[in-house]
Structure formats: structure tokens, C-alpha cells
Symmetry: C2
Subunit: 237 residues, 2 copies
DNA sequence: AAGTGGTCTAGACCACTCA
DNA sequence: GAGTGGTCTAGACCACTTG
């Protein structure tokens, strides 16, 4: 790989490797070729290949293990499903919850939806109404909005009750950052029924947008939840 | 620096540099010696020194600038003050708020305090009652607990109204991770008065412990806040 | 014993900053 | 133009894993 462009060589190697992983040349949980072979293949020095692989590891795309090899991470792995969830059980583990989808509709995006998901006029969205439970107890009611352009035929592919990490993986999309806004609220009649609390009980209202790795909004969710058996925890590094 | 221990050389170099920075050998906003000089000084290769410096940069201890040098970061810098704050103004910037301290007391730690701050029996704490405001509007009421052992003579040093980043810096302590638990609540009479909301209004209750870089609990805070002009936002990478 | 990634070395050249 | 960090090379040896 001769350095035609102005971008650092190790970045170019990283991108080439990331693309080949995304295209499925190396499957999740298998190894990529070793450093020497990759270096020869790309025509760069082993040090440059190493730097590219270290970058990929820091991005969570591969895992390197001394004496074993460099493994491709599975983007649909269960431990990544709770990546955007801040709920923790009393025991302290992250909880994603079992998803039950009540309703799926397809419609033209409303003004709010167009703004939050940065959609053009007339673009369509899927709207999902869901309940999340932990150990059989409902704790969260959510309204999820997904752009049809990113996830065509989502209901037909039976993905309406899957978490976004699984859905994105099915469509070959890499997820990136998310921002969630938290505010206090009181349970509406519908929320009270779904979550088994009294109407007007104190609840958390969560408003979250998840972006793809390249910055396109992939999901807007507004959720209402109780925190009786659950903790909403935020970690700062 | 001959490698006597089993730890990687670049980690030893990193630790030596971190210690000399902590001891004040190089002051904040000044540069440390260049890579070649450090390498010669430690008796290691430039590549090893570089790896140590890159590590320090990833930890936020220094900032490297091509053509300029490697600068020591100021742990009391204002942009770090909001490190543990998740409040954002309507305009989108992180907000730390102006602190007004209502009361400072010193006492033996209660059972709760001993547990949260991992203190031994009979250890003492400072308890601070505070209000935080943004643009003159109170938005948060907090009860802060600090171990006297970590911050002796805090009130005498006029640090009771400073944020923990400034306090820690004054005591030469490096701060590390923090965990905040968020739950919905209703305003007590006292909270209602302080925050100018009606009694029983929906508020957020924040329960946070901040650790030092070496894992000792440095602050336990329980806060009640309104989110009328403020957003509590959580970012996931 | 063979193969992998992790550490370490000792250079070269480039891009950027500033006097 | 001198000095800095950033990139890149081409090796050596070590620690760990597996057959």
C-alpha cells in the first residue's frame, strides 16, 4: 500500500481492514491474519500494521490476545446490547430487559421526528410501541422511531422486537455515539397501567438519539420508566 | 532506567513522569523536556518514551502538540470543572453552576457515609449544604460529604464553595471515575423553597460518588434538582 | 516447538510552530 | 532554520497459547 493520499498510512490500513471486516471477509469470533502476513499483504512495515490493529481494538472492532491472535468482535454480541442502556439491577449488572412490542406502524415522519432524525420532508419512519421487562416485571415503556431508509422492511424481517444493536448488525450498520436526556415526570394513565404504578407516580422520562458510527441518526426513543427495582446509573471516566 | 521489575518499561516511564508532574517538577501549562532528552534521561529508547507520553496524553495528564511540545494539563482548569456534571444549558454547553454554600459542619461519619465513602469507624467527614445556580437561577440543592482525612481543614482553607476538581487540585489529589445514580422524586418543602418550585413538584434526585484516580472515594453527594431551564444529558460512546 | 501478539530498540524522514 | 511531535521502517527478543 503506497502512500498516495495525505492521510497517515496506518489510518489507511485501519480503514481497509475495517472495510474488509464489514464486508464479511473475516467473520465475527474468527481471527484475521497475523501481523506479518497483513504487513506483507499491504506492503507496509509490521509497526504500521500494529498501529492500525491497535486502533481497531480501541474502537472495539477487534480484540487482540497474546499468543492467540486478533479476533473480530461480534457486533450483535449480547454484552454489547446494553451498550446504550444505563439501567442496572439491584445486583449491579447492566440490564437491557426483555422487549415486548405492542404496535408497529409506518408513517411519514412528523416535524419532531424529522428534526431529531435529520430527515428530509416526506421521508418515512417506523414507530414502535414497546414495553421492557426485567425478570417478568415491566419497568419501561418506550416509543421508538426508526428511519425506514436505514432499516427497510424491518417488520417483515421480524426485527421489531430486537434491540438496536442487533437490528443495526442485521443491516450491516455500525453504531456510534448516543445522547440521552433525562428528566423527571409523572406517570400518565397509560404508563401507569403498563408499569403497574399509580397514575401520577414519579417516573423518569428518557429522550435518546443513537447515531451510526458515521454520524447519521438511527433511532429516536422516548421512554417512561419506574426505578423501583432498577437503578439508572451514569458512569463518568 | 534498567528494567528490573516485571512491568513494561513504558509503564514505568509513564509512572515516573506522572509522579514528577504530581510533585510539581513541571508546572501546568508548561512543557516537559522533549522526547530525545527524556529518553536519554531515562536511558530508554525514544520509542519507549513516546509510548509513555502517548499513555499520559490518553489519561488527560498532558497534551501533545506537534511543533510545540508536550504540555502539562492544569487539573484545576475550568473546562475540567464540569467533568462530572451532566447538566447542559438550553444552548447546549455543559454547566457546572455557581456554588453557594449554606452550611458547613464537621462530624463523625454516619453509617451511610461510612459505607459510601468506605470509611473506618470514628472517621470524620465534612458536610456541606449547597445551592447551585445558573445565570442567577437556583436549579440544584445538594448535600455533599467529604472525608476529613482526604481534605483536612477544608473550611479554613476557604474551599467549601469550590467544586471538587479545584479542591482536589489544591490537595494534590487526582480524580478518577464517578458513578451517579438518577431517580425521580418530588420536591420537599425545603427543596421547593430553595429551587422556587411548588412542594411536590417532579424533580431529579442524583446520588453520586467520585473516586480518586487510585480508587478512594473522595465525595458523596445527594442532590435534588429541577430541569426547567436545564437538561440532564448522558453521552454514550 | 511453533506461532501469536507485546515490548523495545535505533534509526529515518515529514509536518508543524515559532523566532 | 532550528526544534518539536507524528509517521514509518526493520529488525530483535519476550510472554503467552496451543498442539
Amino acid at each position: 500500500m503506497t502512500n498516495f493520499s495525505t492521510r497517515p498510512l496506518y489510518i489507511q490500513v485501519r480503514d481497509a481492514l475495517a472495510e474488509r471486516i464489514a464486508l464479511g471477509e473475516w467473520k465475527p469470533n474468527t481471527t484475521v491474519p497475523n501481523e506479518m502476513d497483513l504487513a506483507r499483504g499491504f506492503g507496509v512495515s509490521p509497526g504500521t500494521t500494529r498501529k492500525a490493529l491497535d486502533l481497531l481494538e480501541s474502537e472495539g472492532i477487534v480484540t487482540r490476545r497474546q499468543g492467540r491472535g486478533t479476533f473480530v468482535n461480534d457486533p450483535a454480541a449480547p454484552e454489547l446490547a446494553s451498550r446504550y442502556s444505563h439501567f442496572h439491577s439491584a445486583a449491579g449488572e447492566r440490564v437491557i430487559g426483555e422487549i415486548k412490542t405492542l404496535e408497529v406502524t409506518e408513517a411519514k415522519a412528523s416535524e419532531d421526528e424529522r428534526e431529531r432524525l435529520r430527515l428530509a420532508r416526506d421521508e418515512k419512519v417506523y414507530r414502535l410501541a414497546r414495553i421492557r421487562s426485567h425478570r417478568g416485571k415491566a419497568f419501561l415503556m418506550e416509543d421508538v422511531v426508526l428511519p425506514v431508509a436505514l432499516f427497510p422492511e424491518l417488520p417483515e424481517r421480524n426485527l421489531a422486537s430486537s434491540g438496536l444493536t442487533v437490528v443495526a448488525s442485521a443491516y450491516g450498520l455500525a453504531l456510534g455515539k448516543a445522547v440521552e436526556s433525562v428528566s423527571p415526570g409523572t406517570a400518565s394513565l397509560a404508563a401507569a397501567k403498563a408499569l403497574h404504578v399509580e397514575e401520577g407516580a414519579a417516573v423518569l422520562v428518557l429522550d435518546r438519539v443513537i447515531l451510526t458510527r458515521d454520524g447519521r441518526p438511527a433511532e429516536w426513543r422516548v421512554a417512561v420508566c419506574k426505578t423501583n427495582d432498577m437503578r439508572y446509573k451514569v458512569q463518568s471516566a
